[in-house]
């Protein structure tokens, strides 16, 4: 049981603290199999270090470097284009948003003006006991327009037509 524990410690001998190393050293001095494993591990460690010291060279280091630098240049260009795109996109978005707000504002301003006029007319008619969307309502509406000296669009067209015909005949 003790040897099994020592064996696992032998594999990690270089990572042990001084107290643990001493523990292993004392045991292996009196245990032939652990001492043998320790020697064997020591040899293996040397071989592994030997392999670690061998240079590992790429087939073509300049090609790798060229590829890296090309990718970085491309990345830099892409980043610049990306920034331009983002700025353009935000500028466009902001312009569209402002235009939409202005159109919506104009629409609601016009609508509220129309609404107040309609409400005024309707209120007058309703207060006179006339129901909305009835010939009486329209009659009252037209009367009020005449009294205000306002001509309807139809009358306007009619007048224009007769003036046009007069001019045509005169010519």
């Amino acid at each position: 049981m003790k040897c099994a524990k020592i064996e696992s410690l032998i594999y990690l001998y270089n990572e042990l603290d001084e107290r643990e190393k001493l523990y292993v050293d004392v045991h292996k001095d009196g245990c032939a199999s652990c001492r043998s494993l320790f020697v064997q591990r020591g040899q293996q460690h040397i071989w592994i270090r030997e392999v670690g010291a061998m240079p590992v060279l790429a087939a073509s280091p300049p090609r790798i470097k060229r590829n890296i630098m090309q990718a970085i240049e491309a990345n830099k260009e892409n980043s610049f284009t990306e920034i331009i795109n983002i700025v353009t996109m935000y500028w466009l978005r902001a312009s569209l948003a402002i235009a939409s707000i202005l159109i919506a504002g104009l629409f609601f301003a016009q609508r509220s003006a129309d609404y107040s006029r309609t409400v005024l007319n309707s209120t007058n008619s309703v207060s006179n006991g006339i129901r909305l969307n009835t010939p009486q309502f329209l009659k009252a509406h037209l009367k009020r327009r005449e009294s205000a000296n306002q001509i309807s669009f139809y009358d306007c067209l009619k007048q224009s037509d007769s003036e046009f015909l007069k001019n045509l005949k005169a010519n």
């Binding site: 594999y11 240079p55 790429a58 280091p61 790798i64 470097k65 630098m69």
Partner: protein, 190 residues
């Protein structure tokens, strides 16, 4: 080993200087390829990982903290890229097809016997590393082949010292089994 990059060069690269980043690539390319190749075991894939790692380094350079070594940060990027590679499904399918490609220039070319031994040793370690889990392989490469300190390996892999020791133990145990046969082969020559 690689030469350390000066803080001025890193600062210039952070500011967007391609020339300064080119210096960083020059200083670290060899070590980056070595680590990637030792983890992956395939030259083409290792090259791809090195390229991706440097591109990732460039993109995230503004997040670099001066208290961390640039090599530690680069190690972390490379190891994470390699671990991602192991996780990919295509890699799992081709796991056993990885060719034994050793891009190694041996120092002692005048001694064919020594060269043969070194190649044999390399083959044994490469075969054994294929049996390890990605994390065990990463721990083994960083601690035993790269010779990094325990604390640095823990920082690169974001693991505790206990976790590192556990992975290292299993990795060395697997290596030991394979190296025993190499040992017998070696002694039979004597």
């Amino acid at each position: 080993m690689h030469s350390p990059t000066t803080p001025e060069v890193i600062k210039a690269a952070k500011a967007g200087s391609v020339k300064a980043f080119e210096t960083i690539v020059d200083d670290h390319q060899v070590f980056a390829y070595r680590v990637a190749f030792r983890l992956i075991g395939d030259t083409q894939e290792a090259e791809d990982i090195v390229q991706e790692s440097f591109i990732s380094l460039w993109k995230n350079l503004d997040r670099y903290r001066a208290d961390l070594k640039l090599t530690t940060w680069l190690y972390r990027i490379i190891v994470n890229k390699c671990l991602d590679y192991f996780k990919s499904t295509t890699t799992k399918q081709n796991k056993n097809k990885v060719a034994l490609q050793f891009a190694v220039a041996l120092a002692d070319n005048n001694n064919p016997e020594k060269e043969f031994e070194s190649n044999e040793l390399l083959k044994v370690i490469h075969d054994a590393s294929k049996l390890l889990t990605p994390k065990q392989r990463a721990v083994f490469v960083l601690r035993d082949l790269e010779g990094l300190e325990v604390s640095e390996v823990c920082e690169i892999l974001s693991i505790s010292a206990g976790n590192l020791k556990s992975n290292l133990y299993y990795a060395r145990l697997a290596m030991s089994e394979k190296l025993k046969s190499f040992n017998e082969h070696e002694t039979s020559y004597l």
